[in-house]
């Protein structure tokens, strides 16, 4: 039994992390980036918030949020769900965390866990709902429609977001414009606003980073745990497999696989990244398991008659997870870079506005905003993730405790 004042391991690490200024600043900046990804339709969309024609008021913006004809990609739908549920979820969790502050360890933990589960449950439920019952509507380009109606002498009131553009609607008559007040970063060769595509790209890049890493960390943990726990022949067999995978140059493997997949979507790209990257965490976990396997608490658990699964996942794994967490933060950054590389080489998903995609069109068209803007976005995100990763690593290291 823990005493009420005893901080949990998580709290110690979090306390240590808070003491590291650069890490904290980066974390806040990263959260701001995530917030940008979530709330980007409020910033940029060509669907007006308010649309009044002939006294009839509608909100095409609201209607478009779950429109599968417009937000074709599941990633966008997911982020829109986050946006819609966030007014409920965020204050709820903050309140729950504050109200449980003084409680003893176990009770606090379980109450907080329930709150998080409820929040996740809500998000998943809404997402499942909008996916199962998709709304689809006829495509209307509102700025053009507005012009048409105005030309006919009708009265139209339309309130647009700050950037009244869509990340996908093209306009050949406005292609390759330079920077101006209305297009801060100009337009690309299909006449789409670069700024809008860039902010929407945040969603794609962050998703690819997080999901690809989540997939390969899961694979890595399972494989590494099995290898490290059982040792002997199982271990050497798995080690040989890992060596074979590592031997193949990863970029080469990625490009080869990408070439074979038809109709590539960003989900394929996540899987491709996961398939080449799982060996790293697998080795880390294996090493930790080999060390922890011989410690007394494992022997105690075995003596107490716990099953193998319980021992691996409930006893050893929590102690072995530290280094994996660190490698995960760095992994997100490198997955974003891999996606950019693939898109840059023309092997990405061309229907999504990913940063690599924009960068690639900049290379071939020689429009400087198309190169610098996504380049900077990639640089910023990757740097922030690295700084956070470094903070976590230092916070986990007992020798560096402040």
């Amino acid at each position: 039994m823990q005493h009420a004042e005893d901080p949990t391991y998580g709290e110690i690490v979090w306390g240590q992390f808070q003491k590291r200024k650069i890490g904290m600043t980066s974390l806040y900046a990263l959260l701001a980036l995530v917030a940008l990804a979530v709330y980007v339709p409020i910033l940029a969309s060509n669907k007006p918030f308010l649309w009044v024609v002939a006294g009839e008021a509608t909100s095409p913006w609201l209607a478009s949020l779950f429109d599968r004809n417009f937000y074709e990609n599941a990633v966008d739908i997911f982020f829109n769900v986050l946006m819609v549920t966030s007014p409920l979820v965020v204050p709820g969790i903050i309140w729950r965390f504050k109200s449980t502050k003084g409680l003893p360890g176990d009770e606090k933990k379980s109450k907080r866990r329930i709150a998080i589960f409820m929040a996740l449950g809500l998000i998943v439920a809404v997402f499942a709902g909008v996916t199962a019952f998709p709304t689809q509507s006829e495509k209307t380009v509102y700025p053009r429609m507005e012009q048409k109606l105005l030309d006919q002498g009708e009265e139209v009131t339309a309130v647009y977001p700050v950037l009244p553009y869509s990340f996908r609607d093209t306009n050949v008559r406005e292609s390759r414009l330079g920077s101006s007040f209305s297009h801060p970063l100009g337009t690309d060769s299909a006449g789409r606003d670069v700024m809008t595509r860039l902010v929407f790209g945040t969603r794609i890049s962050l998703t690819i980073g997080v999901f690809a890493v989540a997939i390969y960390i899961t694979i890595g943990i399972v494989v590494g745990a099995v290898a490290g726990f059982y040792g002997g022949r199982v271990d050497s067999a798995i080690q040989r497999i890992i060596e074979v995978v590592i031997c193949i140059p990863s970029l080469f493997l990625i490009l080869t696989m990408a070439a074979f997949i038809e109709d590539r979507s960003i989900f394929h790209i996540m899987f491709i990244i996961a398939i080449v990257r799982w060996t790293g965490p697998a080795r880390l976990v294996r090493a930790e398991f080999l060390r922890l396997r011989r410690l007394d608490f494992v022997a105690a658990a075995e003596a107490a008659g716990y099953g193998t699964r319980h021992i691996i996942f409930r006893e050893i794994l929590p102690n072995a997870i530290g280094p994996v967490l660190v490698s995960a933060t760095f992994g997100v950054a490198s997955a974003i870079l891999v996606e950019s590389t693939m898109s840059f080489l023309g092997l990405g998903d061309i229907t999504v506005p990913s940063w690599g995609q924009i960068l690639n069109s900049g290379r071939t068209t020689g429009v400087w905003t198309l190169i610098l803007a996504p380049g900077f976005a990639i640089f910023l995100t990757v740097s922030l993730l690295n700084l956070v990763g470094e903070g976590v690593r230092d916070a986990l290291d007992p020798k560096l405790r402040k």
């Binding site: 689809q136 006829e138 050949v172 490698s327 870079l337 069109s361 020689g366 990639i378």
Partner: protein, 654 residues
């Protein structure tokens, strides 16, 4: 633990991007610097009055004389034998309107022009590929060639006279005498190749009618694969091909077809004395020589009787030709033709700017940044000029007509109408092309210029789809229709070549317009090999394609219904139309030009109405060149960049 592992990777990645950007910037800078340096050198030379022209020496070992053949029109560049033969009124061949290199030019020097990729081989009957044709024309000669200014006329080359005593069933071809093959490019010093020596001067072989009979033998031998395999169906009507004497051929057909003559005249000779022997001089056996020929030791080198000899080919580095000093015809304009391999197309303008090449073609995007956006001089150098040339090639989107969705011609018309072709030509291809409407190149009489292209009209497209029964019955923004008792939403994928940014942009534009019409299109960019496979197996809804027609377009291959059911045929869209079949068959047998034009126009109107292809555009290709080269002339016929017609105005200063 693993402190430096992933961290190093990410930082490495970042550093790589940084280094890449810097390197790119530096390279551009370097290229500029080089250009400036070259310019300085040039200015200095001009100021000091030192000219290398007319002298031996200089950078490229330049030895030349200034030639003016502006007045030498017509027979000036023909051999005496050809001149004499042209007097005969029954001769199909005619006087050339110009000698090869036009105007005042300097003979000699090295022409350097970039090569985007290595050819697959240099034997024109084995190696497939459009580029092989171009090298073939440098190294070899046809029997007769289309006039560069008037492609309807045939000029004498290896044939001095072609006559047909029975109007199209038999052709008698008299060949040029005194023509010798190049000496093969082998190690003569070693003595291992003495068996290759002929009886002519310097151990050369004389060109005879048998060198053409050998081509016929290759065609008859089904073991010979490669390029000749796809040529066989053009010669189906040919019955016999024999040498009457050393310089006369007699060719007979079992059917008069319009295409017979052109197919016959555009044949290269191929040396039996080389291709029937292995590297040690042993003759191949009768039963297997066809198979052996496919892997012949000389296929990676080139041989011919033409103005340039094969010199060297280093894969990924360069391809090199040198003047044939014993050429039988008009002496070649350059001493050497060098094709350095540059795989990155983005680097082409830099190569010109740095003075590493004399001429290069460029991409539309580069045309925009280098030429259209240039204020004043192109690439800041007054000696770099630009020109563009029209080609016969047209681009299109081919619909899979076996798919019930695209059965109705109104649907296909609607697809064309929702494709902003003119807008895309202007904004994506920077005006390098014109709207195209039919199955012929725009330069020929067969192309009916009076046919109006379909406009870009979303509303009209919607109306056509309504008419064809495609309505949005479930209000989901995507049209649907009941086909065979099943409700089908109008969705399709667009198969396209993945490595072209222009097409990526085009696909995005089309996709958004189609969505407005109520049709969901998903672009599917794939590798070239995958694309070919999918097209051959008809696994597509619509694909983006290009067609390079010849001057005479034979409709059978692309449009006849008999081709629609063959595997891997060119009629991969499955176009079956009785009227089209009738016209295509009749055209093959019609020789009267007026009647032909009439039929062509009828066909053009039919195909435009049916829209089995969404015809897109015929492109123009821009080039950059240094002005020591005379303004390059381009052929309408393939190969467009016929370097035999180019020449230096003055000695290039290098």
């Amino acid at each position: 633990m693993s402190r430096s592992g992933p961290n190093g990777l990410v930082i490495g990645g970042l550093a790589l991007i940084l280094v890449g950007t810097l390197y790119n910037a530096i390279q551009i800078n370097n290229a500029e610097q080089l250009g400036i340096d070259n310019q300085k050198k040039l200015d200095e030379i001009l100021k000091n009055g030192v000219r290398t022209s007319g002298q031996s020496g200089g950078g490229g070992g330049f030895s030349g004389d200034v030639v003016n053949n502006a007045t030498l029109m017509g027979e000036g560049c023909l051999t005496d034998q050809a001149k004499a033969a042209l007097v005969d009124p029954s001769n199909i061949l005619t006087q050339p309107t110009q000698c090869r290199a036009k105007g005042e030019h300097t003979r000699g020097g090295t022409l350097r022009s970039v090569l985007a990729s290595d050819p697959r081989g240099l034997n024109p009957y084995i190696a497939n590929g459009a580029d092989v044709t171009e090298y073939g024309l440098l190294m070899n000669d046809y029997m007769a060639e289309r006039d560069i200014n008037n492609p309807d006329k045939w000029l004498p080359r290896l044939a001095v006279s072609v006559t047909t005593p029975d109007d199209g069933l038999t052709y008698i071809v008299k060949l040029q005498e005194g023509v010798y093959w190049h000496k093969p490019t082998v190690d003569w010093e070693s003595g291992d190749f003495d068996w290759l020596k002929g009886d002519g001067p310097d151990g050369r072989h004389e060109f005879t009618a048998d060198d053409y009979v050998f081509v016929w033998d290759m065609m008859q031998n089904q073991q010979v694969a490669g390029r000749i395999d796809s040529m066989r169906n053009y010669f189906e009507a040919m019955e016999s091909f024999e040498a009457i004497d050393d310089h006369t051929l007699k060719v007979t057909y079992n059917e008069r077809l319009y295409t017979n003559l052109a197919n016959l005249l555009e044949l290269y000779p191929s040396p039996r004395w080389l291709f029937m022997y292995d590297q040690d001089g042993r003759k191949y056996e009768e039963a297997t020589w066809g198979l052996k020929l496919n892997e012949h030791w000389y296929n990676q080198k080139g041989i011919g009787v033409g103005p340039y000899k094969f010199k060297a080919w280093e894969s990924g580095v360069k391809l090199e030709f040198e003047a044939n000093e014993m050429y039988w015809g008009e002496p070649p304009a350059f001493d050497r033709i060098l094709r350095p391999v540059v795989k990155d197309q983005n680097a082409f303008p830099r190569k010109v700017k740095a003075g590493e090449v004399d001429i290069t073609s460029i991409q539309p995007e580069q045309y925009k940044t280098v030429v259209l956006d240039a204020d004043g001089e192109i690439l800041d150098n007054e000696h770099i000029k630009t020109t563009k040339f029209a080609t016969l090639t047209y681009f299109y989107m081919g619909w899979n007509l076996d798919d019930p969705k695209f059965e109705d011609k109104r649907v296909r018309q609607a697809m064309t109408m929702s494709f902003d072709r003119q807008g895309i030509i202007d904004s994506v291809f920077h005006g390098l092309g014109t709207l195209h409407t039919g199955p012929y190149p725009q330069q020929v009489a067969c192309y009916d210029k009076s046919i109006e292209p379909y406009p870009y009209d979303i509303d009209a497209a919607k109306a056509l789809l309504e008419e064809a029964g495609w309505t949005d019955s479930d209000n989901d923004g995507i049209r649907d229709k009941v086909i065979n008792g099943e409700k089908v939403p109008f969705e399709f994928t667009f198969l396209m070549y993945g490595s072209s940014t222009e097409y990526e942009t085009l696909a995005s534009i089309w996709r958004e317009a189609l969505l407005e019409v109520g049709v969901k299109m998903t672009p599917s960019p794939v590798e070239w090999s995958t694309m070919l496979k999918k097209m051959d197996e008809r696994e597509f809804d619509v694909y983006s394609g290009a067609w390079v027609p010849g001057w005479d377009t034979d409709l059978m291959q692309l449009w006849h219904s008999s081709e629609a059911d063959k595997p891997q045929s060119s009629n991969r869209i499955g176009f079956r139309n009785e009227d089209a079949d009738r016209i295509a068959e009749e055209l093959r047998r019609t020789f009267d030009e007026d009647r032909r034009t009439e039929l062509c126009h009828e066909f053009h109107a039919l195909v435009h109405e049916e829209q089995p292809y969404t015809f897109f555009y015929a492109r123009e290709r821009p080039v950059l060149y240094w002005d020591h080269l005379n303004e390059p002339q381009f052929s309408l016929n393939w190969p467009y960049q016929d370097k035999r017609y180019w020449s230096f105005q003055s000695a290039p200063e290098r």
